[in-house]
């Protein structure tokens, strides 16, 4: 077990395009191990890095390679999803999100933010910046499964990642979801939008969680399933 390595990835051949490749970013080694396993067991290839800077380096977007987009640099492994922790030293997940969305080469890659805190303004900010989803830690198998469903949906909808048009479809979809949420909860600031997985959290401590149950079962509560289907 390479506890000292800050980057760990599976050896892939470029032809392996049907298996989802996820770039996971988290400064906590414990969380990296967990998210890595969650993804691998869900049949994803994983590259796990310990900082936003390393994530950008991996993509070829770091300061040293500022010209990556003009010199035709292509990262060796195509990334299908980026999942990043929010609270990280030096570069937060939000800052990483912004950098990715500013890049013409990588802005199509869905970015998911993870946070141990259920802070609504934070969630809103990330979604507004183009995050696909926001997961409240600890991350569970059901969260990862839902992310995989995104990927499949995207591919079916868009056809291929190279088509830039797909972004607009997904962007519109997100906006519609948010509009629905805003209509549903006009003044009730304490409940979070049901279409994102804040409901999966039970140890959330700061703000009141809208999670309808704190029972020890890992099964999704029927209420959560109902809520999720009502906004689809």
């Amino acid at each position: 077990m390479d506890t000292d390595a800050v980057v760990s990835f599976d050896h892939v051949s470029p032809e392996d395009s049907h298996e989802v490749h996820v770039l996971a970013v988290d400064d906590s080694l414990v969380d990296r191990k967990v998210i890595e396993r969650l993804l691998k067991i869900s049949a994803c290839k994983v590259t796990a890095v310990d900082s936003g800077i390393r994530a950008l380096q991996f993509l070829g977007l770091d300061e040293q390679r500022r010209t990556s987009e003009s010199d035709g640099f292509v990262p060796s492994l195509k990334v299908d999803l980026i999942i990043t922790d929010y609270c990280m030293p030096e570069m937060t997940g939000y800052e990483l999100l912004k950098k990715i969305k500013e890049s013409s080469m990588f802005r199509e890659i869905p970015v998911v933010i993870m946070s141990s805190e259920n802070v609504l303004p934070r969630i809103d900010r990330c979604l507004e910046e183009g995050a696909e989803d926001f997961i409240v830690k600890p991350v569970k198998l059901s969260d990862v499964k839902r992310l995989k469903d995104y990927m499949t949906t995207r591919e079916v909808k868009v056809g291929s990642h190279d088509r830039g048009r797909g972004v607009d479809d997904v962007g519109v979809e997100i906006n519609n979801k948010r509009k629905l949420e805003e209509e549903e909860e006009t003044s009730d600031m304490s409940s979070s939008p049901p279409s994102i997985s804040t409901l999966s959290s039970s140890p959330s401590v700061s703000s009141p969680s809208s999670s309808p149950t704190s029972s020890p079962t890992v099964l999704a509560s029927p209420i959560r399933r109902l809520k999720m289907s009502s906004t689809d």
Binding site: M1, T3, S28, L29, V30, D31, K33, V34, R37, L38, K40, I41, C87, S116, K137, P138, V139, K140, L141, S202, P203, V205, P216, T217, V218
Partner: protein, 157 residues
Amino acid sequence: MLGFGADLLWADMNRLLAFLFHQGVLDEQFLQLQQLQDEASPNFVSEVVNIYFHESEKLLNNLRGLLMERELSDYKKMGIHLNQFMGSSSSIGAKRVTNICVAFRAATDQSNRAGCLRALEMLEHEYCYLKNKLHELFQIEQQRALVAGVRYPVQNQ
């Protein structure tokens, strides 16, 4: 006879787990970790937990150091350490430890030295308890694997 032993150990393990759940020491996230353990990753839980122990001890030492400073204690830095501790504790399902971290962090937000000292003591105690119990759990699991291994010898040595 050996199979019977393995079953007893299995029962012991479940009894201990049930106890820890009942006490609120562990929550369902620990079960989630167990679900991630399989033939491909047969020691996943103990690997992650050992990383957690290693990191936690560093964090606890840092916290104690910061709090014992003769000059003004750096409450902000303590808060950062506590965020890390909270995060990893919740990731492995260490519920009681996580909750104490929350209370501790609230005390750092208020620069409440007495509160911090109390919280640190509770945290160290709770962490110690957790570590002992998890070691116990892993020991039973190891014994069970040994006993099962004797009965069903591994093909490739």
